[in-house]
């Protein structure tokens, strides 16, 4: 392609007086050009951001005043409270623990593929489905997860738990502020298991 046939000359022979001009080859050495091309390619490969970061949409509960009658009350049997604590630790208990005198059965776990919070969420969903079948709960009642990140939890914990919600197809969940009562529960559990 880059070469052109110059050897065939013109159509007719030149006369004896005409000087024969030296035929120069039109062949160009393309090696440096290839070098340049690849150099630029490497530059673009390094500067490019191929994997565009993704986003996660989040809806926070509306803090505006809602009429008492419009508020949906979470049923004790559908609720599960998840507390995020330090060192990526996750505490969870079933129900809402509205009565501080009756401490709930706090269980500790973490974010892992096996025996983690995921299994607890799945178990809770199954339990609610079971209750629906037996008629104890209406068809509209869904497993509800209340996420309460403690002050010593990290942002990654929050994203992870929201991610678990979407992984396990948990539709109803909310991030709410931790209460001093819940913090006390964590302290009590930690005091009971000093080994951790």
């Amino acid at each position: 392609m880059a070469e052109m046939d110059t050897s065939s000359g013109g159509g007719h022979k030149k006369g004896p007086g005409v000087k024969k001009s030296k035929k120069m080859s039109t062949r160009v050495d393309l090696t440096p050009m290839v070098d340049l091309g690849f150099l630029l390619i490497t530059f673009f490969i390094f500067t490019t951001t191929m994997a565009k970061p993704k986003t996660m949409e989040i809806n926070m509960p509306n803090t505006e005043k809602i009429d008492e009658k419009d508020q949906t009350k979470v049923k004790e049997s559908t609720a599960m409270t998840i507390l995020l604590s330090k060192n990526h630790r996750v505490y969870y208990y079933e129900g809402l623990a509205t009565d501080p005198n009756v401490p709930p059965d706090l269980k500790v776990t973490g974010f892992k593929d096996k025996d983690g919070i995921r299994d607890a969420i799945i178990a809770k969903k199954l339990k609610v489905a079971e209750l629906q079948r037996s008629g104890a709960l209406g068809p509209k009642d869904q497993a509800t997860f209340l996420i309460k990140p403690d002050t010593n939890s990290t942002y990654a914990d929050m994203v992870n738990i929201l991610d678990e919600m979407s992984i396990n197809d948990a539709r109803v969940y909310a991030i709410i502020d931790i209460t001093p009562v819940d913090q006390e529960f964590i302290q009590v559990t930690e005091a009971a298991n000093p080994g951790n």
Binding site: M50, I122, T154, Y155, N160
Partner: protein, 220 residues
């Protein structure tokens, strides 16, 4: 043994084809590339299975670094120009035209209003050197609205462009209360829907979301 004389071949290779390939790849990368936006601080976002891409335009980006400092940015030069004019008027900063232009072409802002003028007066390279040590935009979620400068930025930005999508980009190691401050500020502005920037992670096999994605694939 009879001697064979190997015919000498020229070592010249025709580079044309290789050149073609090189430039084809080059043009691909040039078109596909999107330069990494310069960020004042490096933030490692946590990963999630969410695969919604970030919208291309009308983004308000609130960056939270591991120490809890907050940086604020919006895209689009023209909007930035409008924003700084709005802020200048609102906070009476007496910025010069030159300083406003510096803001329009700059990146994230991580200084309080009191330092904004001196920050914008710096030459660009000095600004870049200063940005990683910037104190961040002050956020105070108590009732004192004057102290919550992030709220002022959000207010002005939404005035100039009501379509803005709010994205929070926080480091995984940032402690939750720091992020909560930002969320609370947004809630005060009646913004309950926003995006968290995460990196992509694979959906665990066997989970409900995995089944769902498989179903979608089969339907297609």
């Amino acid at each position: 043994m009879p001697k064979f004389k190997l015919p000498r071949k020229s070592t010249n290779i025709d580079m044309t084809a290789m050149c073609d390939v090189a430039f084809l790849l080059l043009s691909f990368f040039m078109l596909a590339t999107k330069f990494k936006p310069d960020e004042p601080v490096t933030v490692v976002t946590p990963s999630s299975i969410s695969s919604i891409p970030i919208p291309d335009a009308d983004i308000m980006l609130i960056t939270v670094d591991p120490k809890g400092r907050i940086f604020f940015a919006i895209d689009n030069k023209l909007r930035r120009k409008e924003l700084i004019q709005n802020i200048d008027e609102y906070k009476k900063l007496n910025l010069t035209e030159q300083e406003m232009n510096t803001f329009a072409i700059g990146s994230s802002i991580g200084v309080p209003f009191s330092q904004l003028k001196s920050f914008l007066a710096m030459p660009p390279d000095e600004q870049n050197a200063y940005a990683p040590t910037a104190p961040g935009v002050p956020v105070d979620t108590t009732n004192n609205t004057e102290a919550n400068e992030l709220a002022a930025w959000i207010r002005s930005a939404r005035n100039t462009n009501p379509k803005l999508r709010i994205c929070i980009k926080a480091d995984g190691e940032t402690s939750y209360p720091n992020v909560k401050k930002v969320i609370k500020t947004l809630e005060n502005w009646k913004i309950f829907k926003f995006n968290l920037i995460t990196s992509l992670e694979e959906i665990p096999v066997g989970s409900a979301a995995y089944e769902e994605s498989m179903k979608g694939m089969k339907a297609e």
